[in-house]
């Protein structure tokens, strides 16, 4: 019982979810109330996790659950971005009439699932967390059920995700069969010798995880789901599952499979290169901003995985830094997207941005900064994210990966520049409504300033990250 405080955040959020469900059922028209309460409970959750950050690493539940600095950091950025996601999506949900009690509850349960994934130290616990987050995400994707695209995206995500979960489970069973345990540390101890069973197990598990992180060649769901889902859900998709999946990647590769890095390194390098190139090339022809950001996130995940492919502490750090900066850039991008509103309709095509800079100089400037940062142009935050990754990659003399990755940024720069061209060089269209949503404005301001001023004190994040990854 003395370890209860470690599991407190998870327990708190579980109880909250059930409580909100009850309130929702018994109190009529409580959608707004629950939405606000959920946001507040996320803030409390954040405080509870912060409270743990000074404590030593602890194993719970018979070594199947691990609370350490790394998992705490990942949970912090997870919940932190969850708060912002709820903050900037609140108005959108009301305008397109999706303000139902299930929406915030599904978000909370998905976050709970991700937290379990992040902390899991056992295949079964991990799978439980994964399914909890996925089930919530299927429903969220098709939440706008009167919309054909949204329904399609939910169904598509469900079918493909179920397939990948099946592969993943098969991999887990292979691993269990050959290493006689489901516990990560035990697997590490039992898998010192090479055998094909474990190798196949690793491949299947990596396939499942690559699907969740939408890395090439398991990315096919991403563009459709991103485009079809309501924008606030797209934002959720673009950030939170990525954080969870990346930290699971780190966990799998560096705990149970740490001895077999010669088996999985080539796979990760391939996935990483394929994602960087495909994401960059496929985004060029896109017309829809949400679809475009889907491809862009595919290529960004390629860069984050490149850090992991190095099999070094530096590499893990660079990946974590990358995902942190990536989430801020996405928050900023989507805040801009939420501002493109006119007569209760949100606009999401690239053409709708035409000549935006004449009537909305501040919004356009923020977009400019965000897009250049996504393209990785110095001195913006996105450059530093890529810089750390390549620092780690070149340390291991993986020059091919580095050069392909950097050429990928040049291709990617083209489509980001195309958006900037449309915003700044093209003739203007009708004016959009000035947003009075304070949460949206604050998020946009904070994230833009973060991106713009990152170079002044770049060691802040890297120092934290290097502390948490010290093993």
């Amino acid at each position: 019982m003395e370890n209860f405080q470690f599991i407190l955040p998870e327990v708190f959020i579980s109880i909250t979810i059930m409580l909100f469900l009850l309130i929702g059922v018994f109190k009529k028209n409580s959608a707004n109330l629950i939405y606000n309460l959920s946001a507040i409970s996320l803030v409390i959750l954040l405080a509870l996790i912060l409270n743990l950050s000074s404590l030593d690493a602890t194993y719970l539940f018979n070594n199947s659950y691990l609370i350490d600095n790394l998992s705490n950091y990942m949970k912090l950025i997870l919940v932190g971005s969850g708060i912002f996601v709820m903050l900037i999506g609140s108005k959108y949900i009301q305008v397109i009439n999706l303000n139902k009690i299930e929406y915030p509850i599904l978000i909370l349960s998905s976050i709970l699932g991700m937290m379990i994934m992040i902390s899991s130290n056992d295949l079964i616990v991990f799978y439980m967390g994964l399914e909890l987050q996925s089930l919530a995400l299927y429903v969220l994707a098709s939440f706008n059920r009167d919309n054909l695209l949204s329904t399609e995206s939910g169904l598509k995500y469900f079918v493909l995700s179920a397939l990948s979960s099946g592969l993943l489970l098969y991999g887990c069973s292979l691993i269990y069969g050959f290493s006689e345990s489901t516990n990560f540390d035990q697997i590490l101890i039992n898998s010192t010798e090479f055998n094909y069973g474990t190798t196949f197990g690793i491949v299947f598990i990596l396939v499942g995880l690559a699907f969740k992180i939408s890395a090439v060649p398991f990315h096919m769901w991403a563009p459709d789901v991103y485009q079809g889902s309501p924008t606030s859900v797209t934002l959720f998709f673009a950030i939170l599952p990525k954080i969870a999946a990346l930290s699971v990647f780190i966990k799998f590769l560096y705990t149970p499979f740490a001895n077999m890095n010669d088996q999985w390194q080539t796979i990760i390098v391939f996935i990483s290169i394929a994602s960087m190139i495909f994401g960059a090339v496929a985004a060029i022809g896109q017309k829809n901003l949400k679809r475009l950001i889907a491809y862009s996130s595919i290529s960004h995940m390629g860069y984050a995985l490149a850090g992991l492919a190095t099999v070094s502490n530096q590499g893990i750090q660079s990946s974590i830094t990358y995902i942190t900066i990536y989430l801020v850039m996405n928050l900023a991008f989507f805040s801009c997207l939420f501002m493109l509103k006119r007569d209760d309709k949100y606009y999401e095509n690239i053409e709708d941005l035409s000549g935006l800079s004449k009537k909305h100089p501040i919004l356009s400037f923020s977009l400019l900064i965000v897009l250049f940062s996504l393209a990785g142009i110095p001195p913006l935050a996105g450059f530093f994210a890529k810089f750390y990754v390549f620092l780690a990659v070149i340390e291991q003399s993986m020059y091919f990966l580095a050069i392909v990755g950097l050429l990928g940024t040049v291709v990617a720069a083209f489509y980001y520049l195309r958006i900037i061209k449309i915003i700044y060089f093209d003739p203007e269209k009708k004016e959009y409504e000035t947003s009075h949503n304070l949460g949206l404005k604050i998020t946009l301001a904070i994230s833009t300033i973060f991106i713009l001023a990152y170079f002044i004190y770049p060691s802040g994040i890297t120092e934290i990250v290097s502390k948490i990854t010290m093993i």
């Binding site: 142009i377 110095p378 390549f390 620092l391 050069i403 900037i420 060089f425 060691s459 890297t462 120092e463």
Partner: protein, 498 residues
């Protein structure tokens, strides 16, 4: 005195830009914003002149060095200057106020944004010339793409989108390889501090590849043949002020990079690749001069002449002689002044007559006598007449080339003749002759602000043409030092082979 004078030089323009961004100045065509910009850039110019004054010209060390912890302990923010960089800094701070004064002639929309772009650009350009850490250098080098992309794209001509994209992607593609090289240097030697790298040296086996990676970036930016094609497009479509910035300062970043990094860090590789640079430079000099002869658009002609002039610069640098390198630096400064002046002169007639086609002009001398005079000075400066800065640069470069390779020097000398041909022919067609186009008669001679900017450029071109001593003094010791280090490394390398 520990006042961070270089950082103030770097930051001052950005502060000015922020000030303009946050002040409301809707009335009178943003006049107040312009005065703020002018004031800031002039203050920066005076600050840089002060820097030149207190700068110790006889010291080989980097001066005014600032070293601050920056990237979690392993990469420092380090700036400092030697005799070479200070000239480029002064060139930058000198050209910027001229650009800001010329703004009202060409820019009619979004003046405020334009001023901000120019000032931010100045920050990056000064940063390039005084950074003493490879990562910091890369940061400034690349960051300059953003404001320039916007300057071409927003305020440019008809094909501005194409040109802006070409400019951005070409230079970005060149630069990413340099980033790989910089990170490799960090892992090979454990530092990216230029001064430390000068002492440590880089192992011979890595030098060739690293040199090539840096070369890709600098060759695109210089630009050298065959990757020069972005330059004519960018120049033609950019607004006059954009062309001035591009020609006068942006192109010099690469020449500076060659001296500071290619020669300084990879001496053995530089020796190995000398022939390559010679060939590319000679092609640039001869081929682009011929291309310039055939141009019908004035801006395009000057753009191609820039490529030819930069060919002289790269040739001079890789002669590895005192005269050659000094000549190259002098030529870069001279070209910075002359090409800026030529683009402004084209801007003057373009603003009045709205065409850049040479055959629409003719006989301007009888309508605009003052303009004809200044334009003549700049033309002579461009073709390298004795008494202008252009002569001294080209003369020294050819001297250096003769010392190393007579054939190369002879071919390069042909370029001087071709340069005279296209410049004089341009001058003849535009200024002399009968007035065939009757619309020209309504054109007015130079306005006050044009007189101010053009005279400001005439003075240094003639002054340093007759009396180059102040500039030469400043670079002599630093060039000597660079060459000494270079020769020392080469001899060591030969000795280790035996």
């Amino acid at each position: 005195m520990n006042f961070p004078i270089l950082s103030s030089l770097i930051l001052l323009p950005t502060l000015g830009a922020l000030f303009i961004l946050f002040t409301k100045s809707s009335s009178e065509k943003y006049k107040s914003a312009k005065y703020v910009g002018l004031f800031i850039s002039l203050a920066n110019f005076i600050l840089s002149l002060y820097l030149w004054l207190v700068f110790d010209k006889n010291s080989v060390d980097f001066q005014f060095v600032e070293n601050r912890e920056w990237l979690s302990g392993f990469i420092n923010y380090k700036v400092g200057i030697d005799g070479i960089s200070i000239l480029f800094i002064i060139l930058t701070t000198f050209i910027t106020p001229i650009c800001i004064i010329s703004v009202n002639a060409t820019i009619t929309t979004r003046l405020k944004d334009f001023l901000i772009a120019i000032l931010v650009m100045e920050t990056f350009m000064i940063g390039v010339f005084c950074s003493l850490d490879l990562v910091v250098f890369y940061l400034f080098f690349e960051a300059g793409l953003i404001p320039m992309f916007l300057i071409i794209g927003i305020w440019g001509g008809e094909r501005r989108v194409y040109s802006a994209f070409k400019f951005f992607l070409y230079t970005l593609l060149g630069s990413v390889l340099m980033l790989v090289a910089i990170i490799s240097i960090y892992w090979i030697t454990g530092t990216t501090d230029v001064e430390k790298l000068y002492e440590l040296g880089i192992q011979t086996e890595y030098q060739n590849l690293l040199w090539l990676a840096f070369f890709c970036s600098f060759a695109v930016k210089t630009p050298m043949w065959p990757v020069h094609t972005w330059l004519p497009d960018a120049h033609v479509e950019a607004p006059t002020v954009g062309s001035v910035l591009l020609a006068a300062i942006l192109l010099k970043m690469a020449g500076y990079g060659f001296i500071r990094f290619s020669l300084g860090l990879f001496p053995i590789a530089s020796e190995n690749f000398t022939i390559l640079v010679y060939i590319l430079s000679l092609i640039a000099i001869i081929y682009t001069s011929l291309v310039a002869l055939m141009q019908e658009d004035m801006k395009k002609l000057i753009a191609y002449s820039s490529v030819a002039h930069m060919g002289f610069v790269t040739l001079g640098i890789f002669t590895m002689t005192q005269q050659g390198i000094e000549g190259s630096i002098f030529q870069m400064i001279s070209h910075g002044l002359v090409s800026a002046a030529l683009f402004l002169s084209v801007g003057v007639v373009y603003e009045r007559h709205h065409t850049r086609l040479i055959n629409k002009y003719g006989g301007l001398v009888s309508i605009m006598p003052r303009y004809a005079i200044v334009f003549m000075v700049f033309t002579l400066g461009a073709l390298g007449l004795p008494g202008t800065t252009g002569f001294i640069g080209e003369f020294l470069i050819l001297m250096g080339a003769f010392e190393k390779n007579i054939l190369v020097a002879m071919i390069a000398s042909l370029g001087v003749i071709l340069g005279a041909a296209y410049m004089l022919w341009l001058f003849k067609r535009v200024v002399f002759g009968e007035i065939t186009n009757q619309e020209l008669k309504s054109m007015k001679d130079l306005k006050t602000f044009e007189i101010i900017t053009l005279t400001a450029l005439v003075i240094p071109i003639l002054f340093f043409g007759f009396y180059p001593e102040p500039l030469m003094n400043s670079i002599e010791v630093s060039v000597q030092n660079t060459l000494n280090m270079y020769n020392f490394d080469l001899i060591n390398n030969l000795a280790s082979k035996d």
